[in-house]
Amino acid sequence: MSAIGTPALACKPGDYKSDVKPIWCPGCGDYHVLMSFTRAFAQLKLPPEEVVVVSGIGCSSRIPAYTNCYGFHGVHGRSLALAAGLKVTRPDLTVVVASGDGDGYSIGGNHFLHACRRNIDMTYVVMDNHIYGMTKGQPSPTTEPEFDTALSPGGTGVRPFHPLVVALASGANFIARCFSGDPNETASVLAEAIKHPGFSFVEILSPCVTFRPDESAWKDMVHTAPVPETSDQGKAARRLMTDDGFNLGILYRGSRKPYRPPVGTTSIDLAELEKDFEL
């Protein structure tokens, strides 16, 4: 995080929204996530021009276009790589990365591990709906094994990925889970995630009303985590391993030092470098 609280003029949440109208399905949880983004930015008084929202591919990854901040709608699964490059070269910017469970955990799964490990100061938000929505309903890494559709008859039978456990084991410095249907609480958690130094991971359960209408039941299933957040990795691991998938709140807040590469002039001459690439 950077630049928090510096603007002369405080922005309202609406000031972070662009004029582009979202084309998500009505009822999609991502509308609420967009609200949470803008509310969190307003809460932190971030100047829109000092925030960059980076994404990959998928319904959730459309979010940069709907904000008035800088944005980078990147390639599938590579949002974290793009964001890491940006953040190490422009540490003054607040970098928020948006992804979905397909983009983030499958195509971008490897980047996820190493982003947690590197602990660069940025916030990774994954809108998890347990399905590939944009490509019409294929099972994703978080889809339940018994989820039965024409595309996965009888279910995949494959154990779902546990993103929060993976994040903890890989070194993420802040881990939280939110529900899109509670945009104010989600905004508060996002604000905490952005403020926290290092790599912050926020999973947002965001129902897909079109391909997973059963997820409308999530609003009655989610609940605040019964124990307060911890900074103890062992405790966090036990809690996350026994988690029912619907505990909400900040679940782990670590104190690892964020990775910051040395900043300064390079001894490599650009002309020399270009020569190496000459055909």
């Binding site: 949880g29 019409k136 559709t149 024409a150 595309l151 509670d182 609480e185 009303v209």
Partner: protein, 176 residues
């Protein structure tokens, strides 16, 4: 999920007017968003309904502003009228929207919002210590009760659709 009351503290008449104003403005924004969604998904009947509802809530907001006289209710609302955990009472539930929803569904969303606003102002009447706040909250209760009745009357024009209202002959689930 915890939906514990987290409404802004209403300690004065100005606080109450600011919160009441904000509730109407939040409802306007939500209806506009729903209208935009319906526009994107080519449901023109619902676009009109949501735009009408937005207009109606906007008029209510303006009425409250007038009621506040010289007091800058807009600025005060920005300061104090924040619902921390729950959404603003009159905001229609975004999660219940559907691209094939009918006027009945839209009015159900509206009815839900009006009832939540009614319950909210009723709770102020019941808990307020300041007689001026209590009296104004009672007026707002009357107003919201009127809106509930109005939506119920509108619902008479739009009977509940059949159970298959969401059937799409060209469904997005094209691979099923």
């Amino acid at each position: 999920m915890s939906k514990a009351p987290d409404a802004p503290k209403v300690a004065s008449l100005n606080d109450l007017l600011a919160v009441a104003y904000q509730i109407e403005i939040d409802a306007v924004d939500r209806y506009k968003l729903l209208a935009d969604q319906m526009e994107t998904h080519n449901n023109p009947e619902l676009v009109k309904i949501f735009r009408d509802l937005a207009r109606a809530e906007g008029i209510h907001g303006e009425e409250i502003r007038r009621l506040a006289g010289d007091f800058d209710v807009v600025a005060h609302a920005r300061e104090i009228a924040k619902f921390k955990r729950s959404e603003s009472p009159e905001e229609a539930d975004l999660g219940s929207a559907h691209y094939l929803m009918t006027p009945w569904h839209a009015l159900q969303l509206s009815l839900g919002g009006e009832k939540r606003a009614l319950a909210y102002f009723t709770s102020i009447v019941e808990t307020a210590k300041d007689p001026k706040v209590k009296a104004m909250a009672a007026e707002l209760v009357e107003e919201e009760a009127e809106h509930v009745n109005l939506v119920n009357r509108l619902l008479l024009r739009y009977p509940k659709p059949k159970d298959n209202w969401a059937d799409d002959l060209d469904p997005p689930v094209s691979q099923e």
